[in-house]
Symmetry: C2
Subunit: 376 residues, 2 copies
């Protein structure tokens, strides 16, 4: 049995155990254009659109949009082309109930993001079942399980990080020597170097913003044909996606001279990153770390208009979230990988952000990526 297959089975087994404990007969997952759910890839290896059903009798049914891709990538006990179910989630659920012989009255858990209007249709169509959709259920548990990476995921992540760090070094060289001139040059260089290294691509649209545009938290447009470097702050935010898992880093490039307020901004951002890193430990409350950084900025009358960081994995943003405004009830645990990304933005001074990826190990935090503020 391949390594990947073993880990996919282990993940499904953890869910089967949980379903038995929670008395859930069938759980449904859906990955579709307006309802992405990487849990399907995490559980079966299938990278794309599909519906997935796990039954408490420990069997999986996958209904992929592209059966040819699924035959290559997916591990499931049963495989049914989604077309044979008219690509309708209700029809797929009916097929799963019949295949798994789920007795009437059983509890069936729907995807957490099921819309209210769809939920009404499920309840009507499956009136003889106890159809549920709730926070604190199986789907949230999957999100929390996914937050703690297993050995297979850490192996993949080490590779994604290696590629990211190689590209960071290449970027510094090629920007210093003027090979990369425009925002588009820079973003496309990242994409090309990544694909050459067998990345699936970038984890999200690369943001490359020169000093006239770096005030945007997420620059719009993401990158243009304009020169990337100029006097002040240029922001570069990207992630490399390898075997489904993405890194997420932000560098700020600085062309001097800076005005005093810009020097202050830069120092505050670097200090905030160091402060946050120093607070990372097993059992820490991510909200408290975010609040500490907010308080640090507040001492200098600065406000960070976004969260401090977030988990990364099959999604660019996932559990745990390091935010000062919401209490997730989740503490930091060994195996979690997340960003720390303090930033300050000003329409006149520009924006400065420093983002790195951290793995919390049993021995404390490990700084995975080598993102930095680079003075040119």
């Amino acid at each position: 049995m391949s390594n990947q297959k073993k880990y996919l089975e282990e993940r499904r087994n953890r869910l089967y155990d949980l379903m038995a404990r929670e008395n859930i007969a069938l759980v449904m997952f859906e990955d579709a254009e307006w309802r992405r759910d990487p849990a399907i890839r995490w559980l079966t290896g299938q990278p794309g659109d599909a519906a997935l059903f796990l039954s408490v009798d420990r069997k999986s049914l996958l209904a992929p949009w592209d059966i040819n891709l699924a035959k290559i990538y997916a591990q499931a006990d049963y495989l049914v082309p989604y077309q044979d179910l008219d690509r309708r989630p209700l029809k797929a659920l009916r097929a799963a109930i019949e295949l798994h012989k789920i007795p009437p009255g059983s509890r069936i858990e729907l995807p957490l993001n099921t819309s209210y209007t769809m939920f009404l249709k499920y309840v009507e169509e499956f009136a003889d079942y106890d159809v549920i959709c709730k926070t604190g259920g199986i789907h949230e548990a999957v999100g929390e399980l996914r937050a703690v990476k297993d050995e297979e995921e850490l192996r993949i992540y080490r590779k994604a990080v290696e590629i990211t760090n190689e590209i960071i070094d290449l970027l510094e060289v090629n920007i210093r020597d003027g090979t990369l001139k425009t925002e588009a040059d820079t973003a496309l260089f990242i994409e090309a170097e990544g694909r050459r290294r067998d990345c699936e691509g970038v984890g999200f649209e690369t943001l490359a913003a020169n000093p006239s545009r770096s005030f945007g938290i997420h620059a719009f447009p993401t990158y243009t044909g304009l020169p990337f470097i100029g006097k002040g702050f240029s922001i570069l935010d990207f992630g490399m996606k390898y075997s489904g898992y993405t890194t997420d880093v932000t560098l700020t490039f600085v062309r001097e001279p800076l005005v005093k307020a810009q020097e202050r901004t830069l120092n505050l951002v670097e200090q905030a990153a160091a402060l946050a890193f120093s607070l990372v430990e097993e059992g820490a409350d991510p909200r408290a770390i975010a609040q500490a950084v907010d308080a640090f900025f507040e001492e200098s009358k600065q406000v960070m208009p976004h969260g401090l960081g977030h988990g990364i994995g099959l999604e660019a943003h996932e559990v745990p979230f390091l935010r000062s405004r919401s209490d997730s009830g989740i503490t930091l645990q060994p195996g979690m990988i997340f960003t720390i990304e303090p930033g300050l933005y000003n329409p006149v001074l520009g924006g400065c952000r420093l983002e790195n990826d951290i793995l919390l190990t049993a021995n404390g935090p490990e700084l995975l990526t080598k993102s930095r503020i680079i003075r040119l």
Copy 2:
């Protein structure tokens, strides 16, 4: 008043009229990471994350994540940083109710994709209002209004199409002469040529799949460092996004010799495209066109594993949908822009798809794009 501002106002005015007719006091829109809704851009010009509230007293409140971007791009009567509302949709709705002085008992319409679990929270928090979330409401009406492009949108589309067609011609030249060698070369060439022409980027991840991978409806990975051209079918699917609006085309490149079954596939796909185009007219049922193409393929014992086409605009997939399996109740109308994209896929023979964008005018269908099957 700028042209764009005039059209944004006209769009909001149509909604205000509809709200008055439907007795809706307040309607909420949300554009966030897991709940994208381009209606906010369509109504205000704001390209990114935000909550938007329209009140029946004909006032708009926009709560953007990035206030600096909103000050440049957005048209709204009131602008409040989403941070000031803790980035919580419930808090934003409370603020909108207070600002617009919505009397208790009024009908408030939530986003159509509001999850069941969130809906329960709204209902609890706003027990003194008639909170609704329904199909056939304002949000579905917006989707249908967006399907018929106005003059401003057609102006933008003409430009997006011009760029797309220029790039199609450049691709043919550069693939023929061997300048573009790998899938990644080809995809990055499209991205670079687009940004150079002031595109916001590509409308979706470009798919470039050589004959060993073209059997995938949506190739996975989307493109790689492998050679793009080889004996058989290579598929290239891309869209250029200009001022928010994306085109969507697919070319198939063919390196001969083909086996007989491949020649048959190619001819069937070209004939299906012509058949579909011939059926496009005002008042036509898009489902009937899709069914006609399915029937055509069936005569040759072939099955197309996806829909025939879809509307394009601020989204890569929007109303109208040309699908044989679902009846949307929507007929084709002048001003609609949509794709026609027949395709056949086989793990041994490879995949062949031909996709073009069609504008239905008062004088009949206009083939906007020049996508084609190119024999090398």
